[in-house]
């Protein structure tokens, strides 16, 4: 144990004293944060250029109704209600008479106008567009279709902007056909605003029933997202130097000197402990820094204090798992360059949770989310994410995940130690996967 601690102390100090560590401490969150910043900037600086939209109306009546509804919606949305600033672009409509001889040619001509930025989009209403929709499941006949043609990305929210005016315009015409007095249209078609709240709970201290809070974007997305990103980032920052450090010891011929003084297991464990120490150091920096920043901004409520113990349990487990694996792979390679090619294997337990993150956020109680968050290599990040989401997880799940992690991590360390022991003194051609497996089994 004494030797393990000595190795850990040396490696810890050797890491935290480097410029690379200090720079990484600052740069990593900047890189991760720059994505969020870009989103915020895009929201703050929206595109306000006027958008010209052409309408080809083959119904003969719906075009003007849609133009009227569109102009009304555009005027209503144009300015932010509180600040009075223009936050959305103005939509300007023009009616284009339909060319019934060459509809394809007309579509091409209008598309070219969109390409040349004369138009933002064009709408085409089929002759039967006023007909009621067929029963769900059956196809809409081509003549009844309403189509929006544009160059915008499928994710652009302007794509759905037209749905309102189109529906509103056509519904008004249908109501008029039924003989409804036009003065009642606004009343009939006014949309109901639905409030989205969290659950009601009883205050444990006072015994009173608390009011439910309004669901906020921050609560349902930003806080869990940040917590998981932070965990992944600290784990990567703490464990990624391990691979190069082990091969470096080997390449610089330090390792045999050390093996004369400590067993391979003591060396590896010391190195892993050092990495845990490095991760705890950087996490303290981020957690304290983040808490102070949020408190300063009056958003102390967003700090998930109750999850911090879990955060640290997951952090330590993930770092141990990745570092043990890194030291085994590092021992099997001769140069840091060779080791770098294996880095992809190591980042998988962090990158795969990032990849399935959106799915888990959208359906946190779904089968996929539950299964992947109980799978030990991904459990630290994904279970933490699910615990942080509003609604949380059934109480047994984090404990089952933890049990899995507690069984899995020592297994990884044991296998890694066996590969490390054989690999660390090997020189020459790096081993194949089959050889690594044999070392792990035979020791």
């Amino acid at each position: 144990m004494r030797r393990i601690l000595l190795v850990a102390k040396r490696d810890y100090l050797a890491t935290v004293r480097t410029k690379a560590f200090l720079i990484g401490l600052v740069v990593a969150p900047l890189l991760f944060g720059s994505g969020l910043l870009a989103i915020a900037l895009m929201k703050a600086k929206p595109d306000l250029e006027d958008r010209h939209v052409a309408i080809v109306d083959r119904t003969g009546v719906a075009g003007s109704a849609i133009i009227e509804a569109g102009a009304a919606k555009s005027a209503k949305d144009l300015f932010d209600k509180t600040s009075g600033k223009q936050t959305r672009p103005r939509y300007l409509f023009e009616a284009v008479p339909p060319d019934n001889h060459d509809p394809e040619g007309q579509r091409l001509a209008l598309s070219d106008r969109v390409r040349h930025h004369e138009l933002y989009a064009f709408l085409e209403l089929g002759p039967g567009a006023l007909e009621p929709a067929p029963p769900s499941g059956s196809k809409i006949p081509p003549a009844n279709r309403v189509t929006v043609y544009s160059n915008a990305s499928a994710l652009d929210d302007a794509q759905t902007w037209f749905d309102g005016p189109i529906n509103s315009g056509i519904q008004r015409l249908r109501l008029a056909r039924l003989g409804v007095d036009p003065s009642h249209f606004d009343e009939l078609l006014s949309s109901i605003s639905v409030e989205r709240l969290n659950l009601v709970a009883r205050d444990e201290k006072t015994g009173q029933i608390q009011k439910a809070h309004k669901k906020s974007e921050a609560e349902s997305f930003i806080a869990p997202f940040t917590l998981m990103m932070l965990l992944g980032m600290i784990v990567l920052v703490g464990s990624s130097p391990m691979l190069a450090a082990v091969t470096n010891d080997k390449q610089e011929r330090i390792v045999e000197m050390l093996l004369g003084l400590a067993t391979p297991f003591e060396l590896m464990t010391g190195k892993v402990l050092a990495a845990v120490g490095v991760s705890l150091t950087s996490s303290a920096f981020y957690v304290i820094g983040g808490t102070l920043a949020l408190t300063g901004m009056g958003m102390a409520d967003l700090v998930p204090l109750a999850l911090l113990p879990w955060f640290y349990v997951y952090l330590v487990a993930d770092v141990i798992m990745l570092c043990a694996l890194a030291s085994a792979l590092g021992a099997a390679c001769n140069t840091p360059q060779e080791a770098q090619q294996l880095a992809i294997v190591l980042v998988a337990p962090v990158v795969i949770p990032y990849m399935v993150m959106m799915n888990v956020i959208q359906h946190p109680a779904g089968i996929l989310a539950t299964v992947v968050s109980l799978f030990p290599p991904f459990a630290p990040m994904l279970m933490l994410l699910r615990q942080a989401l509003p609604g949380g997880v059934p109480a047994w799940q984090p404990w089952v995940a933890l049990a899995g992690i507690l069984a899995w991590t020592p297994l990884v360390v044991w296998v890694a130690a066996r590969i490390y022991r054989v690999g660390i003194l090997m020189q020459g051609k790096p081993p194949k996967i089959a050889e690594l497996v044999r070392w792990a089994i035979r020791g």
Binding site: L6, A14, R253, M257, G260, L261, A262
Partner: protein
Amino acid sequence: MDAVEIAHVTKTFDAVTAVDDLSLIVPEGSVYGFIGPNGSGKTTTMRMIASILYPDRGSVRVFGRQMLGARSEQIGYLPEERGLYRKMTVRSVLEFYGELRGGRKVTAEVDAWLERLGLADWAGRKVETLSKGMSQRVQFIAAVIPAPRLLILDEPFSGLDPVSADAIRGAVLDLRRRGATVILSTHDMNLAESFCDRIFMIFRGKKVLDGTLASIQDQFANDTIRVSTAAPLPVLAELPGVEKINDLGQVQELRMARGCDPQEVLAVLVARSRPTAFSIVKPSLHDIFVRIAGPTAGEVKVA
């Protein structure tokens, strides 16, 4: 008590048998020289004594105890491949190594050794600023702090300049005087002859020589004549009963066939030229080494 007892040890790496049924006893207080061609099993044997490798079969005991992977503060090991953390200072790297082995602070010993090997002024400098000779001396210090009972040195003098070699040789002898047992491997046969009490030669994983220099030489007959003549080398050609001529420059060694009479050789030589020296000597360790491991070596007899 014997410092090291190796009994019927075999170690294989995949298809290669690095050490084959080896038995060896290193008495306490001796300086044991390990010789043998590259790849013959010297380093593997030393690593097994230092408990870095485990034997596949047989046992290795150090001071009567089977190590089974444990590390002991009694063993100092200087591997052939030796490096130091380049970014650490000389003092901190030595304190780290010393504390790792000894389990206690070793500041005083570090200072004494740095002083002794002329590195006191470099204690606060980073390892990467040292010359090769200096870092070799630092590596040696790392192996002897705290003072070990058994010191294992794998090629300790290879690549050393004469000043560093002398300093380290003096330090090893000093440790030995204080009771340490020393095992060292070398390719320098003169050093092995002059420095070691006992010599062990391993060839293709098997022990082929083991004993004092005299006892090893006794295994080979007095079949070597050392001559020096004023005449050029061709006068030595086709002397009766001479199997091989080893030209050492100023002196030539002649190896005689079994049963050959040196007096006959001398008579022919005198007839051909004026020899300035003629002596019958025991074969040198170098000669014995080449006879066993050289390209013309016959079937090796296992010792």
